[in-house]
């Protein structure tokens, strides 16, 4: 295995690196949280990094010929290929370095994908990438809970009931998306016991986000981060509330912030406070009713959603993370 860079944990928000790797030149929407995720990601990783981006908003809206925002080397990969792109890039570097065809130095390899690319189409390639212990790489799944680049279509990572162009409420069916959101990060952590680092993240917590990227890049081997990215266009809210919605997702217990480091589950921020009983979960209504995509919800729909979230906190083996529980003794 090639060595990793020295990227110490950042203590305090003022110590987040000033140097930008993702600058002007993109044309993401106002209030796009995924753009912030890209910016924080590359700030944390630094200039000796290769970024590979699969098809999605962060390809199409970011990289237009002649006006790339990327200061670091960047390459497009296909929608379902973030895992293979990371593996191929890391293998190409490792092989040439080992054989003396390229200067031997640690170079970060990050591949990002949206929820469509990662949790749906590219899941098998992400899974395969997480099995190759010999390659240092990070796969970052920025989850805006829909195929947001192609006009907001429902994905396997969309919340139950969300209005999208493939799941519009109608006269007969008020709820068209009857699938519950995929539990991607725990699925990958549980399914790849050798993978040393899997985390969830949210751009609303910038310092936490930065340090998660750094931990993923320095622990060694393949790693995975799943971030929740409020999307003004797809979620239908005023762009100025992106940060607030990210925080509400955590505070309502719908989104759970944690790291799984060498098999140890570490809860972060408000999630930890909720789990320890220091904070109470806010009602899901506070989060859902701020977004147009849930405007068609009936009181029963809200009740059902709340019950599912309650269940995930009260019945799951690890609250909000592992959706099984031990055989009951009764």
């Amino acid at each position: 295995m090639t060595t990793v860079q020295d990227l110490p944990q950042v203590r305090g928000v003022k110590n987040i690196p000033v140097q930008e790797g993702y600058t002007s030149g993109h044309r993401t929407c106002q209030g796009c949280e995924s753009a912030l995720v890209m910016r924080l990601m590359i700030k944390a990783a630094g200039p000796r990094t290769i970024v590979v981006g699969s098809t999605g908003c962060m390809y199409v809206a970011n990289t237009t010929y002649y006006s790339t925002p990327w200061v670091v080397p960047w390459m497009h990969t296909q929608l379902g290929s973030s895992g293979s792109a990371a593996t191929g890039t890391a293998a190409g570097l490792a092989s040439q370095m080992r054989k003396g065809k390229m200067k031997n130095e640690p170079i970060n390899v990050i591949a990002f994908c949206g929820d469509g690319g990662g949790a749906d189409m590219g899941l098998s390639a992400v899974s395969a990438a997480l099995q190759h212990d010999e390659y240092n790489l990070l796969i970052l799944m920025y989850d805006n809970e829909s195929y947001a680049n192609t006009d907001i279509q429902v994905s396997g990572s969309s919340p139950w009931g969300a209005n999208s162009t493939f799941s519009p409420p109608g006269k007969l069916h008020n709820i068209m998306n009857k699938r519950w959101k995929k539990n991607t990060a725990p699925m990958l952590a549980a399914g790849h016991p050798n993978c040393r680092y899997v985390a969830t993240a949210c751009g609303s917590y910038g310092l936490d986000f930065t340090n998660k990227i750094r931990r993923a890049l320095t622990i060694g081997g393949p790693t995975f981060i799943h971030s929740i990215d409020p999307c003004p266009k797809g979620w239908d809210y005023d762009p100025k509330y992106s940060h607030e919605l990210g925080m509400l997702a955590v505070e309502t217990g719908i989104w759970v912030q944690y790291e799984i480091v060498d098999g140890e589950v570490i809860l972060n921020g408000p999630t930890k406070a909720i789990a320890n009983g220091i904070r109470k979960r806010k009602p899901v209504e506070d989060y859902l009713m701020r977004q147009g995509r849930f405007a068609h919800f009936t009181p029963d729909d809200l009740k059902m959603f709340q019950a599912k979230i309650d269940e995930s906190w009260e019945k799951w083996w690890i609250p909000g993370i592992v959706p099984f529980h031990p055989e009951s003794e009764a």
């Binding site: 390809y59 010929y65 990327w70 670091v72 593996t87 040439q96």
Partner: protein
Amino acid sequence: MTIAPAQAELYREEKEELISGSEAIGIACALADVDVITAYPIRPYDTVMQYVSKLKADGVFDCDFIVAESEHSQFEIVKHASAVGARTFCGSSGVGWFYAFEAIAVTAGLRLPVVAMVGNRALDDPGAFGVEHNDALAVRDLGWMLYWVATAQEALDMALLAYKVAEDSRVFLPFALSCDGSFLTHSQAIVNVPTFEQVKQFLPDYDRGKLQLHPDNPITIAPQVNEDWLMEIRRQSDEAMRRSTNVIKEAYEEFKATFGRGDPSPFIEEYMTEDAEIMLVGMGTLALPARVAVRRMREQGKKVGFLRIKFFRPFASEEIQEALSKCKAVAVIDRDYSYGSPANGGVLFNEVRSAMYPATNHPHILNFIAGLGGREVLVRDINEIVDTTQRAIDTGKIEEETTWIAVRE
């Protein structure tokens, strides 16, 4: 650059080995010191990967050998390894090749010199392991160079040539070595294996130059171009494919000078074509029964010759025109089909007929679909083809443009 000592030792001296076409390509990979190889099982191509994995396990081939979780990932992995400057190899067969189709298309679009082996196989459904050429032919419009191999020796030789041509910065296009399933992939023959030193002399290191993705060269690859630029970029790929013709000629001359073997032309092979009135045309291992049949017919005084098309892309229109315009009738034997195409003929037939349109002398051109799904093409099948073609010469007209050979009606 350092070659693993055991790898250098294994190929220190020229030797002859009894090996299959797949093994020959595996050895070529070790000789070319390929950096990243990706595998996924599907018959018949996967024999090459079985051989490569054993070379790696035995410590005589230092490469990153990755068993992918699908053909799509197989081709995506080498695509990205190639972008950071690694020499790469992969391959597939039949529907596996189609599963990777998206990655295969973008590899050409990105001008990455990936070398792949296609163990030609019928497309499912219904399932069949045997050879058909439709799998590899499907990429004919995308910017892949396509070569049809006839012998194990040629498989090794052309794998080396493939890297030389694909990695030439005037070309930078991927290269597929099409190998007939079973007849080539699994059939053994005596192969002359060159030394590392010879190969090193012939094949320089892959240098991606200013297109290499690396922190020292922070470029952005494949941003959205849309209607503003795509046409110009397509045109550049077109120019690269046009340039490949001369690069192939140069490389082939150098190959012959280094290794002391080869045909007069890299694009076509002519067998007993001098004064031929009927010319058979085909690709791949069809050459074997075709040559035998031609030899026997010549003994009977029949003026028959065989033209083997080696490069399907780039298609050597001028050389093919020249070779075919001297005869009275041409019989194109397709190991493929193209339902609903002109004359309901095969892909090769339609390409040959199109290439012949500007020729001043027009022989009759007939099409024969044969050997699908791995069915053997026998000498008697070739005799039937020649008889039918002779009838066209005698009567001055073509009864049927396309005839299926040895098929139960």
